[in-house]
Symmetry: C2
Subunit: 315 residues, 2 copies
């Protein structure tokens, strides 16, 4: 059994944010760094919107809408309703308080703050103490090539409700994007790197596509473990299973493990898939079956605790 | 007594909007054109804000906040409250529904619509049938040179609550601004031009400073009448009296009349100032004292009716 001092968590939005909340309840800020996908960020109505960053911050601050996991609890939607009444583009729902955050982020970026600094500012006023870092301060954007043509991620995900058939995922500006300050040093000094139960293709791959991040993970001495977002042959949430199937990938923890080949040392799967542990171990991975469904705060904390305990035993 | 077929009303925000409501209740859309100051427009938090246009549209549509005269009835302020909580610039209060309108206007301008077209679109969805035209589609902006330095109009008016002492008023880009489509033709075909009870320096002068508008008014055969915003030696609302005094101008209907010398043929003053009619007539103007205080819809309609009747008699 070995000591775990420093943990880095890589995540997208709602699902990953749950594990972030669990880990943040157990680890002090100096022992946990959260690196968040910003491939989903986009410009809409002149606003720079960072859905995953806001979801993670709002969940860590305890102000997220508990029904949806994204957006702010008790928010109103008067601005977007008004845009809709005037025949404007109202397909991306943003609450009024959420809009305030997005107006402010956009203004700060306009005057020259990098996204990571804006995020630190928002985290501080929300009372979030654990470092939350965007994968990059540069605008690397996820697009999908579908049976209905190429479209930006949010057009696919929100406007088209992920119904188009995906043929290929594209990360625009991936060649020139740089990891945000703090990402590489956190990976280098980590002894545990956790890939959250986020969509491997749409939430985690963008992070891994930022030049330097995958390399830092491969070179790191840290134990790296992924939490499978596929449970019982289905995605916990969102398009992961549909997408895997469209891309010809087996919709199973094995499909996830193979996808992370060369990066992960271990995989956490849900208890319902326990029988698959042996197969996963045959791939040369350590595997554990835990209760990965996180609804309540105690679910989140329990998974974080079980994951940390297992990692200490098995790294 | 002569017939009045076509009326043009030049106005700024709250005060002028009241007279617009009164006139719109009496005249069909083809007989009334409303030209609105856009010198107060500004960019804030990435939004293009047109305070006077929105005030006029909202009042004509009957959706304005009845307490303030600006903003929307029953609006919430969650976005701006959120910006304030995060330490952002919250000095310009915009309701959430108002924000929706401003986001949409900004987006339409970004994709290339001229402001006059955006205004027609917003008017149409609000059910406003009378033509409301910005003075210009170009960004001619009002600045004030004060004892605290030069500042944009809204910084002076809202952020500093018009407390700085004004030395000079500046219309930026006045040399190149062009009247919006429809303004000159409306002035040319008008037989009555009304300058509303708006601030002569901050609401009407910007309109007159757009090259071509003053000339069209001087050359027009229309009878031109101004409604004095100075009543009993005070401004009905806002900084008009303070400003006139700072600029060394007599705070009286005479000060207003002298300011509009060469443009107006007549002036409407309030009944409380009736004794000043003779003095105003000595300037070569027609003058009438009417009840100009407009609180209720019936006040607005009554003043519009009395003004139109008087103009028919005296033009």
């Amino acid at each position: 059994m070995s000591r775990i001092d420093r943990v880095v968590l890589l995540i997208g939005g709602v699902g990953g944010a749950k594990l972030a909340v669990g880990l943040a309840a157990l680890l002090p800020p100096e022992r946990l760094t959260i690196v968040v996908n910003t491939g989903d960020d986009f410009e809409h109505l002149g606003l720079r919107i960072s859905p995953d960053l806001d979801t993670v911050l709002n969940n860590l601050a305890g102000v997220a809408n508990p029904q949806t996991g994204w957006g702010l609890a008790g928010d109103t939607f008067h601005a977007m309703e008004t845009i809709g009444k005037h025949g404007g583009p109202a397909w991306f729902q943003l609450g009024d308080r959420d809009l305030g955050v997005n107006l402010l982020r956009t203004e700060m970026l306009r005057v020259g703050w990098p996204l990571s600094q804006v995020t630190r500012h928002l985290a501080a006023t929300l009372g979030v103490r654990h470092p939350v870092i965007p994968m990059s301060d540069d605008a690397m954007r996820t697009w999908v090539d579908t049976d209905q043509g190429e479209m930006a991620f949010q057009e696919y995900f929100v406007r088209e409700r992920w119904q188009p058939v995906v043929k290929r995922i594209i990360f625009k500006n991936a060649a020139t994007a740089r990891p945000a300050p703090g990402v590489l040093s956190a990976l280098e000094s980590a002894d545990l790197i956790i890939i959250g139960p986020s969509n491997p293709y749409l939430s985690i791959d963008p992070i891994l596509a930022v030049p330097g991040i995958r390399e830092a993970m491969v070179q790191s001495a840290a134990f790296c473990v992924a939490v499978s977002p596929i449970v019982g042959g289905q995605a916990l949430k969102g398009p992961a299973a549909k997408l895997m199937s469209e891309l010809g990938i087996e919709v199973s923890p094995r499909g996830v493990a193979v996808h992370y080949d060369g990066i992960v040392d271990g995989i956490i799967i849900d208890s319902v898939d326990q029988s698959q542990c042996a197969d996963l171990e045959s791939l040369g991975l350590r595997a554990a079956a835990l209760d990965t469904i996180m609804n309540t705060l105690s679910d989140k904390t329990r998974l974080a605790h079980d994951l940390l305990s297992w990692a200490k035993e098995h790294k």
